[in-house]
Subunit: 359 residues, 2 copies
């Protein structure tokens, strides 16, 4: 009773010891009982659990993790969060983690390489058991990732992956998806096809461009260099990109946009210019917003398995964690699907092109 009268400095945080003292047993007994260790008798366990509940005991993760040398926590770094794609991926990660009783620590780089690095540091400091990372647009220095690998911490790249060996990756089949879209466009009669593409140093920018070029080449359609524009993945990039096309004085029949936000920028630009989709210029994009079918006009797109991308990334990380000694990097590529709404369903822009040029 009188043996240890500590004053609790801030708020009341009940500890193992409080429970132990109350029942006249040791901390260890309580710890074991609470964790379901087989050592302790059923009666004791029951008593302890009752008291714990009564006192409002919350185990201290800091202490537990420090002592046990694992955190049951996976760190996640994504470029953005207020985008349907990432929001959905993240939901996949969270659901998978919840099922496995893992905690997620999510951080957002805002497409900023420096911030991304800071988050990596934070997460390593938090001693997360593993990491899931989707690179920022800007990231060009990959040296930390080697550090992480050397420390033996599982790291899975997702969607935005670097050209590096020795890491898990989970991506959608960007190249095949882009190919399918452009192939379809060619099949319905388009020839003058522009691509508002991402930066080539990013895998998604690169792969989707390749898909585009593959299809053009395979069907013998000429690529107009003026019509291949490089930029970021956001709405403003799409807007600027389309304006650039417009400035060339000659509009394509169809624009293939590298992401949904980029396509949205095209909607905005065309609206501003008084052009109609698909009459003046037709449009298709990689990725979905969850409400493409309600747009004006409903936009056809390459659907990505966003939620599954997240789940898979988590599972890969966990797997890696469980066999960290015999780690073999896995590269998962999930299939995409061409979804046709109203744009890019038949050749419409061609006939009207003259009108657009006369303006």
């Amino acid at each position: 009773m009188s043996q240890k009268q500590k004053t609790h400095p801030r708020g009341f945080q009940i500890t193992l010891e409080d429970i132990a003292n109350r029942l006249g047993v040791s901390k260890v007994t309580v710890s074991k009982a609470l964790r379901g260790h087989p050592d302790i008798s059923a009666g004791m366990v029951k008593k302890i659990k009752t008291v714990a509940l009564e006192l409002g005991y919350y185990p201290n993760f800091m202490a537990r993790n420090l002592s046990s040398q694992k955190s049951n926590t996976i760190g996640v770094i994504v470029p953005k969060i207020a985008h349907h794609f990432f929001a959905s991926v993240i939901e996949g990660i969270y659901d998978a983690a919840f099922q496995r009783n893992y905690e997620i620590i999510l951080t957002v780089s805002q497409e900023n390489a420096e911030r991304e690095l800071q988050h990596v540091n934070s997460l390593l400091s938090m001693r997360v058991d593993g990491l899931i990372l989707s690179l920022s647009q800007q990231t060009k220095d990959y040296s930390v990732f080697h550090t992480i690998r050397d420390k033996g911490i599982p790291l899975t790249f997702m969607d935005r992956v670097p050209k590096l060996d020795g890491f898990n990756t989970v991506v959608a089949d960007d190249r095949a998806g882009a190919f399918a879209a452009v192939e379809h466009a060619i099949n319905i009669g388009y020839r003058e096809i522009a691509h508002l593409g991402g930066y080539l140093h990013t895998n998604i920018g690169n792969e989707r461009s390749r898909g585009f070029l593959d299809a053009m080449k395979q069907y013998g359609v000429q690529v107009n260099p003026d019509w291949v524009v490089r930029g970021g993945f956001d709405e403003t990039d799409g807007y600027k990109g389309f304006m650039k096309l417009h400035e060339t004085g000659r509009l394509p029949e169809l624009v293939f946009a590298v992401t949904f936000p980029v396509a949205l920028g095209v909607y905005r630009a065309m609206k501003e210019l008084g052009l109609k989709i698909p009459k003046d210029v037709d449009l298709i994009c990689f990725g979905n917003s969850g409400l493409n079918q309600f747009l004006d006009p409903p936009m056809s797109y390459i659907d990505q398995p966003t939620y599954e991308l997240g789940q898979k990334a988590f599972e890969l990380t966990l797997e890696n964690l469980q066999r960290r000694d015999q780690f073999v990097p896995q590269h998962i590529k999930l299939p995409t699907r061409l979804v046709l709404c109203e744009t890019c369903t038949k050749k419409t822009a061609g006939q009207k092109k003259v009108r657009a040029l006369q303006r």
Copy 2:
């Protein structure tokens, strides 16, 4: 050299001691140097920092937090993440936290009360310094929140807040916003107005309903009980809600939807039924998706300051944390704004109503 040859069990995690040994100083010196404590000489600091970098030292937050009794971490619980509203709020929280050098631990309840409670427990176990919470649709048991308050842990409710005293709250001015929308609708001539509303036990459902009723009453417009439908905040709720309206055999001129996803459900339902917005039934909603203006037709809405909601919630929590002894709960209500696109701009549905009924 030979004094302490520990084997590092999993991966190599450099500790203060490693650095200390390397330089022949004590752990404390290193700790202080790395934290910028004024005790240590500039020369020593430099040497220590160099070695730390060389060795790839990452401070162990678990240990640091355990020792210092604070985590520099705020826990966040939201019902959903793949919704423009929450995604944007969360971005606000993250940005504010980043500025202040705080870490965020985000959890998602999926509108599930049980899951929410589990997350509360987890976060308390992690010894977060404070909490930001947006209630799930289901939550009805508020007892944990009192526990939290009794522990002296700052808790700020955001957007979805309970009817409780003694907590910080940050909300949009739901009642005034709803009022403004309905007032506008009445002003342009609508009288037969339906409300696809949320559950009344949620503050946003309740307040937005009140705004609706206030306006109807103030302008002497009669409320048709068949046209006030209660439900959740998701697309399916909007879909079902509209179908319910449709089943009454008499359609209103205008629907006021409690959230953007609910309005989207109305788009879907009307499309399926072959009805046109705004010709057959007009529509306006509370909240934005970031791309309302690209919908078919562009939907008018009550804009909420989502990002600011998040920022404010974080700042309130932090403030509370800094003066936890003299805590006075604050209740922040941020203004909303009526944004007119193409729906609900002039009375159109009235004339066509007969057609809709003849079907």
